[in-house]
Symmetry: C2
Subunit: 260 residues, 2 copies
Amino acid sequence: MPPPIALTIAGSDPSGGAGLQADLKTFHRFGCYGMSAVTLITAQNTQGVSRVDLLDPTVVLAQLEAVWCDLPPAAVKTGAIGSAALIEAVAGFLATRRGCPLIVDPVMISKHGHRLLPEDAVRALTEHLLPLASVVTPNWHEAGALTGGLVHNHADARRAAYALRATGAAAVLVKGGAGHDGLSADLLVDAEGELELPALRLASRATHGTGCTFAAALTAHLALGQPLREAAIRAKAFVHHAIATAPGLGGGVGPVNHWA
Amino acid sequence: MPPPIALTIAGSDPSGGAGLQADLKTFHRFGCYGMSAVTLITAQNTQGVSRVDLLDPTVVLAQLEAVWCDLPPAAVKTGAIGSAALIEAVAGFLATRRGCPLIVDPVMISKHGHRLLPEDAVRALTEHLLPLASVVTPNWHEAGALTGGLVHNHADARRAAYALRATGAAAVLVKGGAGHDGLSADLLVDAEGELELPALRLASRATHGTGCTFAAALTAHLALGQPLREAAIRAKAFVHHAIATAPGLGGGVGPVNHWA
């Protein structure tokens, strides 16, 4: 039996902790054959982002067309896409090729606070890409930005999750948020209702690429045929362990342990 | 102990079998933390290359500068670089940052026959990059092109290896070549002399990315601190096993098994 194929459509992080590099490492970790269509090139390390260059939409489409016809994926993940034009191109491509799970990680801002998605592209995301999503994985900040509000607490997160499901996304998983009790809790809202995914909050600086890594692990488990709720629980446990056993690389917000 | 860091400076293969994707999978397989600076974007699958877009040299340099100062590599590999201007930029950067092994895989043509390096860039490679190399890993065709001749047999390969060492490269490993006896033999020429690395030649169509994967495995073993000859023997055994256990993906020249 060949391994299931997982495709990421994402930006490049040369430092290897986030972006398509983190996705490929995570797919590999879970036995999925990884493919990656590049959308944008960042220059970054654990301390900051120094440059972002978007690729032309025709370059992204050429990559997608090349891989899709020859190596059809079992699951697809999107990460940083970078502009309204790129989002519309990717969504237009995926709209005609349904049939496998689509995990949309609405990357907007890097861990260092560098904006990776201009504000006008947020509407393109909600209008064109979210309606195709099997699951969307915003953090509190992204959930707020996508719903035109702010997410300060778990009640806000819950409201945002339902608002995002109303765009047409089949499920929404709002990540994290620091509780005063030392716990963090993700909230999954799907057709069956709600599922809370609590975890101990780790006091770690090694959180570079945790969003990408979580969504990639979710994608891998869906590519392997697991149901969404089981895939989410496994992906969360993996990222927790990956942070807890981070290799301690770099002088800033370090990468997690993708072998975890 | 954190894992050693391995950096590839290479093109992107969205289908995941060659280029920086194959490098990252191979680094990961051997316990090295993988980083990748992108030089060019291909659209390709197992059947052919449909498009190649070179990045601007300043984009490549920005990636290298970002990662080098924060996450210094234990070994560096170069793959497809794509133009004389890009080669000069990369070589100029690496010339001021010696001190770790540099593996130069002089990628010129994809397995489907698609040219990835214009002829005028070949001189840039021999003049600027090869003198910095700890080891250069051409196949017969590349060894010929780099030395202004043709390599048809093991005697030609041996002559080309010595000619390439004369550029300043510390070692040259000329790969493969089909013998009539069902054997293939790589030839390593280093400061100690010659080492032949014979292997059974596999009748397999799954050879997409074998050059990248071999050089990446060599890079990983050097990053882990192994001597060149031991690293070369291990890398060759890995690629042999990776071809023999290829996952059978795609309709053309399929990828190897990077978990091998």
